[in-house]
């Protein structure tokens, strides 16, 4: 029983780390621009599809594919920031929610048209046999996911904490007007952080693609789960997004294992309602 529980927790942590990756971009966009981006999950979808095509049709190695899919998705993200999100800044919540939902419909159906509705599996070079970690099992690929996500999260943290751009981003986050007064180019910070966030979501798409498959509507549930993570962790809270991403992954894994797999996706929704009732600012406090 204890071993089974630990096994569920381990599986949950791996999936949860990918949730965290998607949620970091979402929480940054929200904290910086005050925009609830309902199209964020589409970056996750695009990352997955770009990787699938690079591996299956261009015959590239899976390891080359990861940075490639991230960079291509970031380019899409940068274009979107210039074309759409720049105009959405400062608009009421209702406008940004609807416009980003429109974007999400747009991307899902472009994907449907270009790539078709069938789910695809991204092939990986990893052997399917599990590794023993004491009493627990883990596939090499899941171990790889955990490692890459950890690296990406640490890198994101390092950039935000120690580089000039990162410091400027945090300044804009704390106070837009004051940051502009000391000469920080706000628009550039928005562009960079939006692009950065879309890249992290794309990375999650590549990493989870081999497990959960790649299909045009995969971004919808990803968006909702990322929102759950962001709200539970506190809107605009970087560290909160990571911790609650892991928590959601573990809670889902335990829920699927001990309650019912049919209600696996409901776990997060129940959690978010309870958290918002008891602690409206999220578990770790938020900017708002």
């Amino acid at each position: 029983m204890l071993e089974l529980t630990l096994q569920h927790i381990l599986n949950g942590l791996v999936v949860g780390s990918a949730y965290a990756l998607i949620a970091i971009g979402l929480t940054m966009i929200f904290g910086l621009m005050d925009i609830a981006n309902f199209a964020h999950g589409e970056f996750y979808m695009l990352g997955g599809f770009f990787a699938y095509y690079a591996v299956s049709f261009l015959g590239l190695s899976f390891f080359v594919t990861i940075p490639l899919a991230i960079v291509v998705t970031m380019a899409v993200g940068a274009l979107l920031d210039r074309g759409v999100f720049r105009r959405l800044r400062g608009t009421p919540l209702m406008s940004s929610v609807l416009a980003t939902i429109g974007l999400s419909i747009f991307f899902q159906h472009v994907a449907l048209l270009v790539w078709g509705p069938q789910p695809n599996e991204i092939p990986t070079p990893f052997p399917p046999a599990s590794i023993h970690l004491g009493p627990l099992f883990i596939t090499p690929f899941r171990l790889f996911i955990a490692g890459v996500t950890l690296l990406l999260i640490l890198a994101a943290h390092g950039v935000l904490q120690y580089t000039r751009v990162g410091k400027a981003t945090r300044a804009v986050f704390q106070n837009r007007e004051s940051a502009a007064l000391v000469g920080i180019d706000i628009d550039r910070i928005y562009l960079l952080s939006f692009t950065f966030g879309s890249g992290l979501a794309a990375a999650a798409g590549v990493l989870l693609g081999p497990i959960f498959l790649v299909y045009p509507t995969m971004g919808g549930m990803a968006t909702l789960k990322a929102f759950i993570v962001v709200i539970v962790g506190g809107m605009g809270n970087f560290l909160g997004a990571i911790v609650s991403g892991l928590l959601l992954g573990v809670a889902e894994s335990l829920g699927a294992g001990f309650v019912s797999t049919a209600y696996k996706d409901a776990v997060g929704f129940v959690i978010v309602i309870i958290v918002l009732m008891l602690m409206p600012q999220g578990l770790f406090g938020s900017k708002a």
Partner: protein, 324 residues
């Protein structure tokens, strides 16, 4: 005075005469769907339009209404005339309970909670197979039939159902308009403009949001019942996020916080996706693009430009009373 009467008489004449002029089944079908959506969207308008609280969970009440009415018919053998009010009441009760818990949060937090509620209801509906038949749905829900003494009207022909839906839609728009014009509507608008200020003059945001939420859910339930007995088949897809998006697009693009905005939105956005069918695979891509463009360039909805034109119309017919 004559001009003021012109508008309602004109709208009434078009609405009543529509099935006499247009007899094609396809167009009548669309018209009935537009009327059902009018009921749904007018109810949502109270919370989203007048009070300014964005909800993405209204499809839950639509689905609850459809299932209450459908199950009343299939499992208990009760007719539409029992199921229809019951659908509204059960949806309103669900809103009352949910609202009591969640109407203390605002903004994006409420958006997510409302989605969460809808998703949970959808999952329960999909998995509680003994009651709801799961993904297979429930088929064979008959159209209503009215037996009142010598009166015997079968609403199965589309033309008959049209008038039933029209009556419900007209009543809904009338009730919502009366509510909006009353102290309740003014309180809701007050909360929308400044919740803190409304509080200081003694308006309880919680109480009024409960009213808007519950009444909106009631009409959502009624719309669900109409849908179930019109289409005859219901499934968990009714709770789908895309249904929610559809009604939100109708509301915002039609013109939120106005009496006729939901009606206009329901008509246009029932027709538009149908006419976009000529674009085949590009249909939803175009639809998404239109949605983004409309929000960026026409945030007030379509009704504002139309209202401006309508204001000028009478002047074409009679000399201006005052020099402009």
């Amino acid at each position: 005075m004559a001009v003021r009467l012109l508008q309602p008489v004109l709208i009434g004449a078009v609405a009543l005469g529509f099935p006499l002029v247009v007899t094609g089944g396809y167009h009548l079908h669309l018209a009935i769907m537009a009327l059902i959506f009018t009921v749904l969207v007018a109810g949502l308008n109270l919370l989203v339009g007048y009070m300014g609280l964005l909800s993405l969970g209204h499809a839950a009440f639509f689905g609850i209404g459809a299932y209450v009415s459908g199950l009343f018919y299939k499992k208990l053998g009760l007719s539409f005339w029992v199921g229809f009010p019951a659908a509204g009441v059960v949806a309103a009760l669900a809103a009352l309970v949910l609202g009591y818990i969640v109407l203390r949060v605002r903004g994006h937090r409420f958006v997510i909670i409302s989605i969460a509620f809808q998703e949970i209801v959808r999952m329960v509906d999909s998995n509680w197979v003994e009651l709801t038949n799961g993904y297979m749905g429930i088929a064979g829900i008959a159209a209503p039939r009215l037996l009142l003494g010598p009166l015997d009207i079968d609403f199965f022909p589309k033309r008959h159902f049209y008038y039933l839906a029209l009556a419900v839609a007209a009543l809904t728009v009338f009730v919502c308009q009366q509510l909006a014009d009353s102290h309740i509507g003014r309180a809701l608008i007050g909360i929308r403009e400044s919740e803190a200020l409304a509080g200081t003059v003694g308006i309880s945001p919680f109480r009024y949001s409960m009213i808007a939420f519950t009444v909106g859910a009631f009409f959502g339930g009624l719309a669900g019942s109409l849908y179930a007995h019109f289409i005859g088949f219901i499934s968990p897809d009714l709770f789908h996020f895309s249904v929610m998006i559809e009604m939100l697009v109708m509301l915002i693009m039609g013109g939120k916080g106005t009496t006729w905005g939901p009606v206009l939105g329901a008509i246009i956005f029932t027709m538009l996706p149908e006419y976009l069918r000529v674009a085949k695979d590009f249909r939803m891509i175009i639809f998404g693009g239109i949605l983004v463009g409309a929000i960026l360039y026409m945030p007030q909805g379509i009704i504002m430009p139309i209202a401006r034109v309508a204001e000028r119309l009478p002047r074409l017919w009679r000399p201006a009373e005052r020099p402009a």
